[in-house]
Assembly symmetry: D3
Homo-oligomer: 312 residues x 6
């Protein structure tokens, strides 16, 4: 169901500590688990996001567990790479079920951990949150979504990366008003989707509004909207501007600068978060590996924030 990572870093105990040396492959009680989902078959546009879990792992020799901006040493934080979900070669429905079961297993096996997931296309969020709900049926779940798109498409034609939020709301796993999407902009959501957002009560904070509010205030506002028990964060890297993140299936101009995303995640990461995923990074169409690196930077900014929170 979950297989070991396809390659393991040789870890060094002397010399400067890199993420590759600090990551754990076997830890029963980590602060956080990292689960890979090498799956891009439900992406509307052609996507190599299935390559991202390993592309992410390959960045680990150029990152350290120390965050200079805030002078946070997160080497005490225990992050365990538990491997990748095993998937079906063509059956999307079955693959989604396998992710859901894998997530159930992780939640039970590591019940005190933060659950981080490395996608994969955005369709993975639906089974992951569904598993969280199954594990905590009485708890209400809120979603902080960072995305250029609403992902509220009708899924009668398939559970694609354009539908995860709609699925969760229609299946009553998450209430529409418990979803806050930060970052939409431009001309990438048809009017019918705007109407869907209004219909379900999903909160949309366009990028322009985020900028006029400021990042801290935006995050505070988003959390104030979420009167829930558990928070799930989903980061679609296509929220970034194409100049910063050309390596996504639907890259757009007019998006966030990467430092804005990092600031958002540093704010969000200082809160109680149950799970987070990073999706829609396509290493095959990246330029100078910049999107892969930005996603890794975003991930570790969030981890640094969690460490700061634990210290306080």
């Amino acid at each position: 169901m979950i297989v070991r990572p396809s390659f393991l870093w040789q870890q060094q105990t002397d010399g400067d500590l890199k993420i590759k040396d600090w990551i754990r492959y076997d830890d029963d009680t980590p602060h956080a688990t990292m689960l890979g989902i090498p799956f891009a078959r439900a992406s509307i546009s052609a996507s190599g996001a299935s390559e991202f879990p390993n592309a992410f792992r390959r960045t680990w020799d150029s990152f350290t567990p120390y965050y200079v901006d805030e002078m946070i040493d997160f080497s005490p934080y225990r992050l365990c790479d538990i491997g990748d979900v095993l998937l079906h070669a063509t059956d999307v429905t079955k693959s989604h079920a396998m992710m859901e079961e894998a997530m159930m297993y992780v939640i039970e096996r590591y019940d005190k951990s933060l659950y981080t997931t490395i996608g994969g296309d955005h369709s993975i969020t639906a089974p992951l949150v569904r598993a969280l709900k199954r594990a905590h049926p009485t708890k209400t779940i809120g979603i902080i979504q960072l995305d250029t798109h609403f992902d509220l498409r009708d899924f009668s034609q398939g559970r694609t990366n354009g539908t995860p939020i709609r699925q969760l709301v229609e299946e009553d796993i998450v209430k529409g008003r418990h979803v806050v999407n930060i970052g939409p902009h431009g001309f990438y959501n048809a009017k019918s989707l705007i109407e869907a957002a209004q219909h379900y009560g999903v909160h949309i904070i366009p990028l322009k509004q985020m900028r006029s509010l400021g990042i801290k205030q935006t995050v505070a506002h988003a959390f104030s909207l979420l009167d829930v028990d558990l928070i799930y964060v989903t980061v679609d890297i296509d929220v970034l501007d194409i100049a910063y993140a050309p390596g996504v299936p639907a890259a757009t101009p007019g998006g966030m600068r990467s430092n804005e995303l990092f600031s958002l995640l540093f704010e969000i990461g200082q809160r109680d978060i149950t799970a987070i995923d990073f999706v829609c990074i396509d290493p095959l169409r990246d330029v100078a590996n910049m999107t892969v690196k930005a996603a890794a930077y975003a991930y570790f900014t969030f981890i640094a924030a969690q460490q700061k929170r634990d210290m306080e």
Copy 2:
């Protein structure tokens, strides 16, 4: 004189409305016309800007007529793609004359419309404005230019993309003081051109000044300088930073971020504008299609602003 677009989108009436479905190919009284000028022969540096009209059209399946940032539905706006100007294969002077005649025809044929033109290199602006003056000989014309360069070169050596403003001023079609150029920066205008700007009274608002003023204030200031009857806007995409727009013949660092350009156009677009052009986008040297997409985004931001203005 004007030929139909070289390809036509198959338009769908069901499903989410995309720009490709919304664009009109036949409309006698559109809010705006869109005319392509596939011409790059007068560019000083080698340019594939002649490829842009079709590259622009090809983006239309990834844009919708809904602008999320300001929640503007511009699907009621009628934009008609009237095709491309037919040009001579090598005779620049004749080609410029053909553009001028085509523009004359468009102004007469669609006399209530906004005229939008998709270049092409910047040399096209001179014949387009000349046509506007011929159609409205008693009206004064002001130009808002967004550009890294002044385009005030002496044209004794040819009417290139470095000369359109100088042509218009010397021919007394537009007064120098009725030109406001927003965005110049860096080391890309020789001293002789600065002196030309001073001589003609052209207003230069360097990017640094724009940033210290703020975008709304910059636009208000620019319009306050223009006591004219008709406003022509010309957008040279090389005003953008090379990180956002590598696909121009003379890309430079230190330029505008694309969101600044979009904000400028959203402000400008809420005013009375007679015509606008977008020039110097070279799809052949683009990276990840980002410049083409940024120019399309800029274009539709302007259209959304026009819709907002019409609604108010």
Copy 3:
């Protein structure tokens, strides 16, 4: 020891003045010298920074000696390209010694000039500053470093581009407290290096802090920390974000925007500066030549600031 540039621009006296026409190849009393160091052999990661001096020279036909942002004409400023240091093909120690001797020669030969150096990897800074100290043994030297990294690695394993600051401090050429590094961010300095910075008293101003202070205030603060006789500025272009500068050996997201770097250099350049270097630009892995152009833009912004200062 120093050889003429490997190619010389044909200089024009008519037409618009470009940098290529304005640069001097022979001037005994220039305002500034420009020395190339085509050396990348001490870079930890594979680097083509040895190609940068000539790549920089090749940009000179697209820059002019006029800075539009501040309307500064620096054509009166005399900048002399004195050529490149001759180096050994494999012996890093010998090559470093050759740079030191070349710098000694330049300081003596052009004793009234500003010394600008075009690297090369960051290891070159140590011999350059060492030469400056030898020439001015009684003077205290301060360093303004713009860098993502501290360059404080232990050099027992070689004097690489990760060690120049450590070398200078350990050799007591510069005091740790006389070094101010502006721009570090993210996850690119191991904890041991943070501890080294603290140990030596090197001042670190992370990018996030620079942004909250503002650029003018940051520069003022940096200079207030430096109670020294001579200021040496070292600009590692990897301080820029990978979206603006993919052409460096260790490009990272989360770095400076190029306009921030230009503003820093415009502030710094208005002060008394003895020498400056630009390092770690790798033209071989650049995208759309944007990093090379950004480094050239940064260089001339500094020169424009020097001209402004001379005028005042």
Copy 4:
């Protein structure tokens, strides 16, 4: 079931005849139909082959219906672009069924035509041949496969682009001995697949053998092995060397040169062929559009050969 092409070329009757002008959109009795299958969801490795039908159509302004090598004017040949198969967004099984039904429809509707199909990934071949068998249940079908891979993987884990030949043989639609694969080479077929080829009696002509036989002799030999009623040709562009065709999901060195592929298709095309497909071209990872162009060249070489055969 089949939708019109998403864009239509504006066709010119004067000037030089290009493929775009010659292609037919409505013809009841064409010599050949062209059907697009924008489907890449069953590709084992990430693939943008779904983009190829339109990328192919976009090349039509740079090809003419005249083949210089053999001085063949194929403008009399009537080729009709009948559009694309409509597919499900995620359900691979349903999409495969939709292709099969579409192919059934085409065979019935255009019963005298050659059927050409533009993929898409290689999984499409199985439903297409299945349809052919359903339409001609008493006829034996032979397959000429040009491919680096055998496509004989076990499909218990999904009907991917690695399985079409295995599917057809196991379902007894085509006999193993009625399959000839020309072009395999190198290290890209595991031993278990070599054993499968032997087990099913599939004929493998490695590239090295093809080169020692010569192309005409190889084709003659291949046809001599096929004592069948109908011939189906399937061209996996990954049979080409990566230097000629980087734009495929699994590009390899050591493959065919493009002129060898063209010669093969010119030989094959002079025979009685019932249907042909071109698969696994991924425009998203192409370099200089060379793979897309090579596939188009291959396609029209085959058509030219058909014209030659019709003339004789």
Copy 5:
């Protein structure tokens, strides 16, 4: 009329002799002149061929005047870079006239030399041959053309890179039967151009025919067709396959391999040749600089052959 090269190599007398050291800038009686024509304004498709003369010059530090394949030391050969033709910024007709005058001047000034010209787009061939005819009005001129295209387009719509052969034949400067084009292939010449070739009696040797004849025999055959006084060779680099030469405006698959072009030029170069040009190399869309390098390699292969001929 002719200006010095825009940059000059610093030449070394010690160390290994490179082309940059061996090239002459001032020689009254060179074996050959090299004239640059930085002109691409008459190219039908967008072209950066105007950048090639300098791109060619920049390769000179990686080539030596020794040809290993045939052990030919051509360092005794005197090749003089006489600079570039000065051109008009937009007037194609005037620019063509300026080339013609420049060529007249070169022929008179260096009357014993071989004339080599570095384009530029293919339109330059017409004025160059016209000058040759003017200088030698009683001599018959033959053309060996290496090209994918016939360049026999009707020039009523402009004297583009698609028309030079037609111009020369219609103006009776060269007879149609004195033109041999080696290398056309594929689908890149419309039927009307095939008819034009037949009408004018231009000899077409398609690539396929060249390969079946062999290169030596092809060259012998071509020369046997040319019963003329002077031979002009024109090399359109788009005769190469796109895998070898992506950096041309109309790159095609199915073309020559570069070693075939080199062999052709080595054969041709051993004959009496009056002039040669190399056209349609676009450095701006090259990949890994491979087209620029291939064109330089082709050029020096021809020079090596001339040296061999001189020695014999």
Copy 6:
């Protein structure tokens, strides 16, 4: 001295056997050892060849131990990845000594094995052969070199990648007449190097000669020249044409096609070979990873040939 590979593949025992599953990490008596030398500091031109050992390892999930061209199953062959040589960060002389010691250790530790080495730049060959001589002082060593260059430069200025053969010959480790270089072509060896080859008696078989002889005959001829006890093969991937191998520091047109290199290695590999290295592959400037893949293909072709030889 030798460190484990920086990452280890997770190996699978079920499913299709890939190279990643078949490679051994611990085997005392392998048929062959594989040693990585991540070293590019002695390359004359900037090189990322230090990245190749790991880039090579990363290809192992797309290759199988079965060679289709000759139907050779080399899964019984035992290849052991023994890791990488530990090197000094800047001291080239020390690093070369470390390689020599590592090679000594390998020869002693695995005395029955073939020694394969993955570079690294070409300077590594000198210490590797020196170690071989030290281990077998009474044996004569012959070198088969596949290279565009002679590597006979004078090393008084450093032991670069341009000098290994000269070093070995001058140190009398290998006699000049015991070196056969297959593949030089074009303009990439100065006359002084041709003279050096003649002086030392090194055999040069230019590519053109290889092609006229045929590959089998060339190899037979090369071995007939080598009346030695041990054969060392060194493969500089820059022997390939730039169209096939853009990812080398000095890529040239006019080189070998990759299938020619593979055929050479298949012939050579069926002989008694003591050691082989593959050098000068620079993954950082590769296009579509084609050079890395070609080098891996070359490597496994050689291994397949060794297996064939062992079987016979």
